[in-house]
């Protein structure tokens, strides 16, 4: 599809969407009326910048069904995102939403090289979380065999992977690493299993994690991006080139904005990713702010696809720390630490303010085999990390070497930052 054809399609769909939400969702109608906007003002995709944004807080304020555009009789499924802070987010899907979801998810899998001959294990959690069922229906829709393994009981899962000759797996990258650990603990190697494709997503990951997973499980790992507010897994996907993730932009229209000024940024610049669900019926969203920070890549990909790509997520707009005026993301520190075998992949950033000057301390655990009785060598290890951090972060950080297993491990999403400045 040419870019002009895509824009025309997006414009047509956007106009239809705006009409839908204006007439069915009081929240959007009120917002548009406040801005003196009528659905007729939105004719082309460029007109999207006139529309209001939607935030996670708006979703919470309208809990549970306030943003739903379809009548309850049309809703055939509901998912909910974890409500770690406040109300969970409830998303209702119509039958057509589910069919589009299966379709976009199949596109992702097909781009990874999955075919009907594959047996694919879905190891995202099944349930209210969109990961499990979302990936599941994509696998079935493509014609491959779905194994709804979900998470937990990993030894049994490894036996199934071996005995059924499972060739692909969809899971979080950290579960993939755990799986590799269990495979090794069971006395097996990557040669005993036939996994060839991994669809990894639902949490940020780095190139070094990709290398490690690929090495230990003997597969090729692809990024699968999605978020439950928009649809679930299937929003964007890597191709064989692995240079950014192609966005299913005929359904999910992406923009990058400056999170402070809310101005739209040109392609290539890093900012907050915003999506408009062009075809959704259950809970369509206008310009939903994902808080994920990335940039868009335009131009045709060497793989032949013409749809726009997003770079890997560099951080979350709410994770971003501003230290001495410099933007710092915990993921930057993480990638430095993952590249140094002397350290465990556990770290904590402590931000503080002394004499009106921001300070950053990076606590990191020394691997047992790298501990030395030689103080000089220990101090050199510390300096190597602080030098590397300085070159990556462009501010200096104080490194604190910690004993193995001394940094608190959190269940689920790891907490990596303690910002003591807020309290002062």
């Amino acid at each position: 599809m040419s870019r002009d054809e895509m824009s025309a399609l997006q414009g047509k769909r956007l106009n239809k969407l705006v009409n839908l939400v204006y007439h069915n969702v009081p929240f959007y109608r009120n917002k548009m009326q406040e801005m003196d906007l009528s659905p007729d003002d939105i004719q082309t995709i460029e007109d999207i910048v006139k529309l209001p944004f939607t935030t996670k807080q708006d979703l919470r304020d309208n809990y549970p069904y306030g943003l739903q555009a379809a009548p309850a009789s049309e809703i055939v499924r509901v998912h909910a995102s974890s409500g770690t802070t406040g109300n969970p987010t409830i998303v209702g899907y119509t039958r057509r939403d589910l069919s589009i979801w299966s379709e976009v998810m199949s596109r992702c899998l097909s781009s990874f090289g999955v075919t009907r001959n594959d047996t694919f294990s879905v190891s995202y959690g099944y349930g209210l979380f969109t990961g499990g069922l979302g990936a599941h229906y994509g696998v079935e829709n493509l014609g491959a065999t779905a194994i709804p393994a979900s998470t937990g009981n990993t030894e049994k899962h490894v036996r199934l992977i071996r005995d059924l000759g499972i060739t692909g797996i969809a899971c979080t990258p950290s579960y993939a690493l755990y799986l590799a650990e269990v495979v090794e603990r069971m006395g097996l190697t990557k040669n005993d299993i036939s996994l060839r494709i991994g669809a990894f997503g639902a949490e940020p990951w780095t190139e070094s994690m990709r290398k490690e997973i690929e090495e230990r499980l003997g597969l090729k790992g692809y990024n699968l991006y999605g978020l439950s507010e928009i649809i679930g897994p299937g929003v964007s996907y890597e191709c064989k080139e692995q240079h950014g993730s192609h966005i299913n932009e005929d359904h999910f229209y992406p923009e990058i904005i400056n999170p402070d000024t809310l101005e739209r940024l040109p392609n290539g610049e890093v900012g907050e990713l915003v999506f408009t669900t062009l075809t959704k019926e259950g809970m369509p969203l206008l310009r939903y702010r994902t808080k994920d920070l990335t940039s868009l890549i335009d131009g045709q990909c060497p793989c032949g696809r013409t749809n726009i790509r997003m770079s890997s997520i560099v951080g979350r707009s709410d994770d971003m720390l501003i230290i001495r005026g410099i933007n710092i993301f915990p993921s930057q520190v993480e990638s430095v630490i993952l590249d140094m075998p002397q350290f465990e992949p556990q770290y904590m950033l402590i931000v503080d303010r002394e004499n009106n000057l921001d300070t950053l301390q990076v606590q990191v655990e020394v691997r047992k085999d790298f501990f030395s009785d030689d103080m000089g060598r220990m101090l050199a290890m510390k300096k190597a990390l602080s030098d590397k951090l300085k070159s990556v972060l462009s501010i200096s950080a104080e490194v604190k070497l910690m004993e193995p297993n001394s940094i608190v491990r959190s269940e689920g999403k790891s907490k990596h930052v303690i910002d003591n400045r807020i309290l002062k």
Binding site: K368, S372, K400, M402, E403, P404
Partner: protein, 138 residues
């Protein structure tokens, strides 16, 4: 003629040395000598203990980062100048000392030395008729 010294990596935190000594006490391991090397955020606790293998085992299972280092332990008369004489001799023979610690009581002082070249250091000390201690004589 060398002695296996236990080195433990410790975070600078109140009570952390106790965690090591408590673990050793629970398994009836006696400490003959120890010293603490510290930097701003961490320290290296160096110990000479009665049962080094067991100490490594119990400390590792309590999640401590532990390693063994060869050191030389000597006994010398507890009088002015006796250590100076030994160190002069080692320096003249180009033995570099990474660290040392000592304890004197009664007629004898015990000195633990971590030299750059352990084997050569032991040979030199024996030539000097120094009392080089073994694990058994501790």
């Amino acid at each position: 003629m060398t002695i296996k010294q236990l080195s433990v990596f410790l975070e600078n935190k109140t009570g952390r040395i106790n965690d090591v000594t408590k673990t050793l006490a629970r398994y009836g391991i006696n400490m003959h000598a120890f010293s603490m090397a510290e930097s701003t955020d961490f320290g290296i606790l160096r110990l000479i203990v009665s049962d080094v293998e067991k100490a490594v085992e119990v400390l590792r299972s309590a999640d401590f980062a532990v390693m063994l280092t060869d050191v030389v332990c000597i006994g010398c008369p507890n009088v002015a100048g006796s250590l100076s004489k030994i160190l002069d001799y080692l320096a003249a023979e180009h033995i570099f000392i990474e660290y040392m610690y000592a304890f004197a009581q009664g007629d004898t002082a015990h000195v633990v030395i971590r030299p750059s070249n352990v084997v050569k250091c032991v040979d030199l000390l024996k030539k000097l008729n120094c009392d080089v201690l073994t694990g058994k004589s501790l």
